[in-house]
């Protein structure tokens, strides 16, 4: 299995609180991605990174921010969580753009 982990795997939080999800890879891949998966919508790209401190917005970036201070770590932050951000969040990595080679196991986030 590819070395990609996510933490936490499950989280329940209250509306208005900040939340940070972590993705860690041991593959030294250049690209890292954050997706959310919701019934009927499939996977939607939130943000992605093409290198240390290099990030860009995806399809559904509002309400989310990201940071990548090291090649191996990509953080997703919800500054003030809302119920609409209840979802399963997946991190993915790839060596080149456009073919996510490996996905993490996912983080199930519930905002009450």
């Amino acid at each position: 299995d590819a070395g990609i982990t996510q933490s936490p795997r499950h989280k329940v939080t209250e509306t208005g609180t900040p939340v940070t999800l972590r993705c860690h890879q041991t593959e030294n891949h250049r690209y890292m991605y954050w997706y959310r998966q919701d019934p009927g919508h499939g996977l939607r790209l939130i943000h992605y990174s093409y290198g240390v401190k290099d990030t860009d917005k995806g399809e559904v970036s509002d309400g989310y921010s990201v940071s990548r201070s090291k090649t191996e770590d990509f953080l997703l932050t919800l500054e003030s969580a809302t119920s609409s951000q209840t979802s399963v969040y997946f991190c993915a990595i790839s060596e080149s753009w456009g073919a996510e080679d490996h996905f993490g196991p996912g983080t199930r986030l519930t905002v009450t």
């Binding site: 790209l45 860009d56 997946f90 073919a99 996510e100 196991p105």
Partner: protein, 109 residues
């Protein structure tokens, strides 16, 4: 609105049957990927197709990319219970990556 439309949404068949699922779009893609996802896990990449008309085979799975690079199909021969899962297609173009909502396949023994 889904940029990539997958059909059927749900498919339940008996072991040994053949099946085809589809991924259609009005947009042209530089590349298209197929993934399989099992409950509680992340998607697993099955194949990437990049050339219009390209056909790739992975054991009992055959993937085809449309000539115009707007659609794709996945054909499974002699389906097995282990093929059960959510099959997702994803298209890439101009630094934009979009996924379909998936086809949920159940293969009954």
């Amino acid at each position: 609105t889904q940029l990539l439309k997958q059909s059927p949404q749900f498919l339940s068949i008996q072991e040994g049957e053949n099946l085809t699922v589809y991924c259609n779009s009005s947009s042209v893609f530089s590349s298209l990927q197929w993934y399989r996802q099992e409950p509680g896990e992340g998607p697993v990449l099955l194949v990437t197709v990049v050339t219009g008309g390209e056909v790739k085979k992975l054991k009992r799975l055959t993937f085809q990319f449309g000539d115009a690079r707007k659609d794709s199909s996945l054909h499974i021969t002699a389906a097995q219970p282990g093929d059960t899962g959510l099959y997702l297609c994803a298209g890439e173009n101009n630094n934009d990556m979009r996924f379909g909502a998936g086809t949920r396949l159940t293969v009954k023994p």
